[in-house]
Symmetry: C2
Subunit: 206 residues, 2 copies
């Protein structure tokens, strides 16, 4: 495509590096920005620059944070004996939105995936082991994706934590609320029968 | 959504102002940027700021340009007696990509749309009339969308240019290459029969 301006070409190239954005969508974004006033576009650009340069990660749970220790870790009302292990910060947001979990998190920053060249040393595993070694954690809840990579990571972390006196659990797998039984895959349906819950225990969520 | 960081929230809000981008997509973009190194993200932000602050419009055709007069207008090999009127700079790119037009452009910067509060005074119409008044233009080709707004704009510009000694034409409407006749709408099919072209004239494009 001929953009007739180097500035437009640069901006289109930058936008098209984003996931799922092609040249046409990028151009649509750029033309939209051209119609905005200068202050707004400057604010957009500045927000991106600040995002990467000023953002810090919580030294305890590796979640994003504006302070050295994030709001969740520094909240005295949360149960620090339960730690939920997640892949990335998006999962923290998703679980926080359910308002069902009052413990702390541990963000791995990825999952073990030999295909993508991600090994245990690329993840925040050592700090989790150190936390476990203090003896303050009673339960570690694994909340990773149900993929080959997720299962591998679950197993690796389980092996590393086995020596400590704590419980390792995984989030329940089963039929989603609203799903029809006949369309569920066999593994999910099988697991949902094996790991069935007492009918009374569903009342506590209501 | 709770973003656990003001910086992330700001960046998500900025991205979600883009057309067709919701909070979830914006968050996906932001998390992608967090994985890039700082220099790349700074370059992205800087490209956006420069885009809006340094971009100039060609004083002749109102196309975007890095110089006061754009590459198309300043090209001596192009036919300055034919002017193609388009809605925005995206249309210039689209027509340029066909490599079938050797004249100049005139970018209106929108179309007349009373519903959106856009009247003739919001568009670059006066400069087109001034160009026509010099007598150097032989033909004005209207290349606007076939909508109510496009037709209104076509008619308005036609009325304004009527007093000058020039031809006003519109781009051909008809069945797209590869389209099936039976699925074409009646107006398009009707126009394609009324404005049929000589079979020999299609050879020149091959």
């Amino acid at each position: 495509m001929n953009f007739s301006s180097k500035l437009i070409e640069d901006a289109v190239n930058e936008f098209s590096k984003l996931p799922g954005v092609g040249k046409r969508t990028a151009l649509r974004y750029v033309l939209h920005l051209l119609k905005q006033n200068e202050a707004e576009v400057t604010q957009f650009g500045a927000a991106l620059i600040k995002l990467r340069s000023e953002l810090r990660y919580c030294s305890k749970c590796h979640n994003v944070s504006d302070q050295p220790i994030c709001e969740i870790c520094s909240n005295p009302h949360r149960d620090s004996s339960v730690v939920c292990v997640v892949e990335d910060i998006r999962d923290v947001m998703a679980i926080e939105n359910t308002q069902q979990f009052r413990g702390l998190y541990h963000v791995l920053g990825g999952i073990i995936s030999p295909m993508d060249g991600v090994g245990p040393s690329d993840l925040n595993v050592e700090t989790l082991v150190q936390k476990a070694a203090t003896g303050e954690i009673k339960e570690v809840i694994m909340a990773l994706s149900t993929t080959m990579e997720g299962d591998t990571t679950n197993f690796y972390i389980y092996k590393r934590l086995k020596e400590f006196n704590l419980t390792v659990s995984t989030i329940a797998r089963g039929i989603s609320i609203g799903d029809e039984l006949e369309y569920a895959d066999e593994i999910t349906l099988g697991r949902s029968i094996v790991n069935r819950t007492l009918y009374e225990s569903t009342f506590s969520l209501k």
